[in-house]
Symmetry: C2
Subunit: 715 residues, 2 copies
Amino acid sequence: MKNKVNMEFHNINSLKFQTMNAMDLFFNPGKVAIIGASRNPKSLAYQTFKSMIESGFEGAFFPVNPKADYVLGYKSYKSVLEIEDEIDLAVITVPAKIVPFVLEECGKKEIKAAVIITAGFKEVGGEGVFLEKKVREIGKNWGIRIIGPNCLGIINTSPQKRLNTFFATPLPERGKVAFVSQSGAICVSFLDHAREKGIGFSKIMSIGNKVDIDEVDALKYFKDDPETEIILIYLEGLAKGEEFLEAAKEATKKKPVFVLKVGRTPEGARAVSSHTGSMAGIDEIYEALFKKSGILRVYELAEMADKALVFISQPLPKGNRVAIITNAGGTGVIATDECVKRELSLAKITPETEKKLREKVPPYASLANPFDLIGDADAERYDWVMEHLLKDKNVDAVVSMMVPQKMIDMEEVAKRMAKYAKNGKKPLIPAFLGERSVLKPIEILKKEKVPFYTFPENAINAVAGLYQYMILKKFRKDEKEPLFKVKTEKVKKIIEKAEKSRDGFISLKDAFLILEYYGFNLIKWEFAEEETDLKDRCKKTGFPLVMKVVAPEVVHKMDVGGVVLNVRSEKDAIIEFQKMKNRFETGFKGVILQKMGKPAKELIVGARRIKGFPPLIVFGLGGIYVEVIKDVSFGLAPLAPSEAEEMIKSTKGYNLLKGVRGEKGVNINRVKDVILRASQLVTEIPEIEELDLNPVFAYMNKTVIVDARIKVFQN
Amino acid sequence: MKNKVNMEFHNINSLKFQTMNAMDLFFNPGKVAIIGASRNPKSLAYQTFKSMIESGFEGAFFPVNPKADYVLGYKSYKSVLEIEDEIDLAVITVPAKIVPFVLEECGKKEIKAAVIITAGFKEVGGEGVFLEKKVREIGKNWGIRIIGPNCLGIINTSPQKRLNTFFATPLPERGKVAFVSQSGAICVSFLDHAREKGIGFSKIMSIGNKVDIDEVDALKYFKDDPETEIILIYLEGLAKGEEFLEAAKEATKKKPVFVLKVGRTPEGARAVSSHTGSMAGIDEIYEALFKKSGILRVYELAEMADKALVFISQPLPKGNRVAIITNAGGTGVIATDECVKRELSLAKITPETEKKLREKVPPYASLANPFDLIGDADAERYDWVMEHLLKDKNVDAVVSMMVPQKMIDMEEVAKRMAKYAKNGKKPLIPAFLGERSVLKPIEILKKEKVPFYTFPENAINAVAGLYQYMILKKFRKDEKEPLFKVKTEKVKKIIEKAEKSRDGFISLKDAFLILEYYGFNLIKWEFAEEETDLKDRCKKTGFPLVMKVVAPEVVHKMDVGGVVLNVRSEKDAIIEFQKMKNRFETGFKGVILQKMGKPAKELIVGARRIKGFPPLIVFGLGGIYVEVIKDVSFGLAPLAPSEAEEMIKSTKGYNLLKGVRGEKGVNINRVKDVILRASQLVTEIPEIEELDLNPVFAYMNKTVIVDARIKVFQN
């Protein structure tokens, strides 16, 4: 530990002489200009400066305030340009309107990093939007990296730095957790909860409107930060989904990353946009994004704290078999229910362990997991049971709970729990189920820096977090997506030349051609532009056949009489051709003829691209499954084969595809092939906004695309 | 208030002279014998007695201990029989083996109520089971009502009583909440949480093994207890489901009843049975039971405390339109997501209110709900916004949240929140989102006896609880179940005489007859016992027809060649008849002939009775819906028409029944009729353990039962 600190110190000293990482400019500055430092104690500017001073910053401050000679005892400057020293970081708290002016001055002073605390930009709309744009431009022009505006800035708890721009917030306890938050208020609220839990932080960033530095920068930096072992992110919305995915993939390989993404519901997403002006996007994309990148999603602030807490000191379990210790049956039941809910299982101990346990456990105490040691269980009994459960080869983790018992020395029990929760090879999670009655044992656990919980559910959910991350790491494949041999250039040309509807849809014929160039297996089809083509084309497809109008403006063919089923002769085909031509007049470009498909399992495969994000791929069983019960699954392109398989398996209808009640199943590999080709198509052709293969007919030996729609971006 | 207390006092004095309610014996005794009162401070018996003394009991104690002359300063008796005074209540803490003996003495002493704290009965198995049976018998013989054994007993916080048998637990704060718990440990843990929340209690019962007094007695008593306004129950399992349902129905009409039922999962249920020896039963029955009785189910101890807290002081809202106030956008988003999850909606305020709000809210603060008053919002701004939101006709409830702001006088904000949370006509829910930073404002809210929360989710969930109870009360119909004119006696006779399979199944023919007596519409069927019957019977049903074997032992006909589809002639029928007769040999009793049904929507309607509970009715769409996606709904018989309708509507497949994609729907009223008749059948014929109508064919104008199974209880 000593060594580490010395090394760090060395690094900081040498930093000034090498090219600094942009983020290091923020977290490890030597000289800081406080622009807007105020003498009015009621002002945010004053409070920000005061926080920085009180945190014991190991560096030099240069307050800038044109109206004062001294601020809080420091010599003040009229402008950054008056400061003779080189400045590493500017912390800006002047009113929004003046920000562009002082930032310009920072540029002239060759300052390379600025934290803009000031609010009143994009989030207030109107002129704020314009001001924010200006700030971004000035930053780019001068090469200034910016955190904010509309944020609380940064915290570095390193004893060699002690940097804290959060106004009215004491420097948090030193620890291994890095926290990144789009909202400053959530930061403050979370720090307060974390303090009660004994969670310490390495570094904290409140990034506000993210005019420059954002979660992507944070992930890249914290991934390699030796002082950070756990990364927490509070997220409202992302602009750069693709870059986030790449950064997160790398980070989660090295450290657990937890994200609390709010704005999950449409209403919540609206609330996000009205308060920060950023788009929350649809939740399915985020869900798929987190999954693909190995991020552990949490749903509440309290849950984020609970999960972080256990990762600080506990090892990952090898499996999901949990032993539950309690001194009261009811709490064991609650913990058991929660285990099942969280996909953990109850460990079945060996007969040897059971025999061992019995030596110090009364005969009437239950030694079926949960292990109910009965109300009079004391430290010695707890110790014995923890020791032997941890030794059992069938146990991957132990949750050791105690209901307050005034007649028992609970502090001694807490010490024994701490003993096993430290230096353990398996996770041991202590829980004292109460409030005031358990303050003292909890104080001990906190002091010993081991996790503690006050409800059975939270203790179990913490184990679930460990298990989930273990699985992520273990089964991480980093599989390459397959690259089918396709004709990308030809597709690009079709899209370029294609006639598009007002909404951006291309014709059915163009869509079919694109699919063929990408190697999809289409139902046998022919195109007839003129009535005279029919004879020849009908022969090629064979009867009975389906006729579909080709008319770019007609997207929902079925609804407007653009589809005729079960055409049984050339004569009928001609009649229908004429009818369609009349019906659609100038929009009519011909008809597609298709052989009628044999009854099959109907599937849909689709894709949708939101700019800035990888395309979202959708899979589902067709017909009622999609329309009535919304049984669909999602993934992000480009998909690896295992991801495509996972998408298929995670639909409820999967059982049906495998075959039930004596019905034969379909060829799952062929289905996977359709999903993977769709993924490759939308990845390689970013012009496609929406792809809809619906229905896809799946059989025992093949899949066939029956109908399709492709929509391209307009402009 | 004064008056109420005086009245209560009067009641107690007069109680001794009237026939006392059994529960009053427990909660309002005058003279209490403490049997087993010990002088050893480490013993549970000593601690129990000490608790009782320290709580300041307003009555007289009579310790019983054959080995001591004095216990804790009280004169001690060798046996209850030595006491000259009449004793109202015995509190028993002697070892399990001696309990029957002292209970017998209580009988002789004519004591009518006993709390047995002692553990070591049914929950430990073996001799404990026998001891518990003995205790029950002695109680019955002597007419002694018993709470316990294996419990903590009772608490009555009334200043006129101050009764507390919970060892090592101080008397809780006085309040309006009654709490009943099967587990003593959960009681203690919950009391600890409740104390932090400022929740006060009227009475508490830890009922342990429930040898006599149980949740049913508790519900009946607390329903009419003027000191109780909210009832909380921690439940592991019920033996008397039917009685519980009736008692709960009555109680929920008058007061909100919250139940935390653990052992929800099969594993959890097993844990219940290993720790109390009681059966948890399947969770679907409990879910249906709670729904039918108007009970509000909660899933965590913390949630129970959160919900109880809001009911103590807040009125019910008129609707679900919530206004969210915050001083930080992010928390507003979290609250919004939670609103949607809890089926609340975001209130849309009137333009007049918006105008009014703007008078004191800065122009850049968002006045779209959630109302983000911005970081510098002080008490005055909060006050103004709360006042006008509460006045708005489009607002049903207000959640007023604050993220810690050291520069703001948070205590003053708390006072304003308390002002509106008291005496309000609409609920106002305060929340300070933090821990140590918000201790002072929270202290104020606690002192003012208004609810408070520290996470947005919990505050919203509290409103959801109020709204849910309002809906329950408002839409409570107490509708009578319909009584179809049926032939119950004839059915009873069939069941009595029916030949049953080893598993208790009756033959298909008997099942069909029973259904006909209950007015179900069966597909046209005939029974042919002999080959010679075929000609005539085939004519009656018509071709093509289905033949099904009648053989009591054959339950899964289909799997063993007991069903032949699509029989097209008399000749074929004869051949198949002969084949079946040979196949089933002596088990063969004949065949059922049915006209093949036309394609239809397939439904299933079923029922299952677990002894002690009302029958559970199951409804679902047939085939893949049931088998693949488990799309079924549940209700408890006897069902009211609205309940049957609710069951149909709550399946995902309901859309399909209504008709989608141009397909015609089915007659929902006819489906309802099937469910209601099934409900009446299993209600009136308690001999039926399982009823399975599968498939039921549903058409536009009718429903037809195609196949059925009936299983009856075996002894």
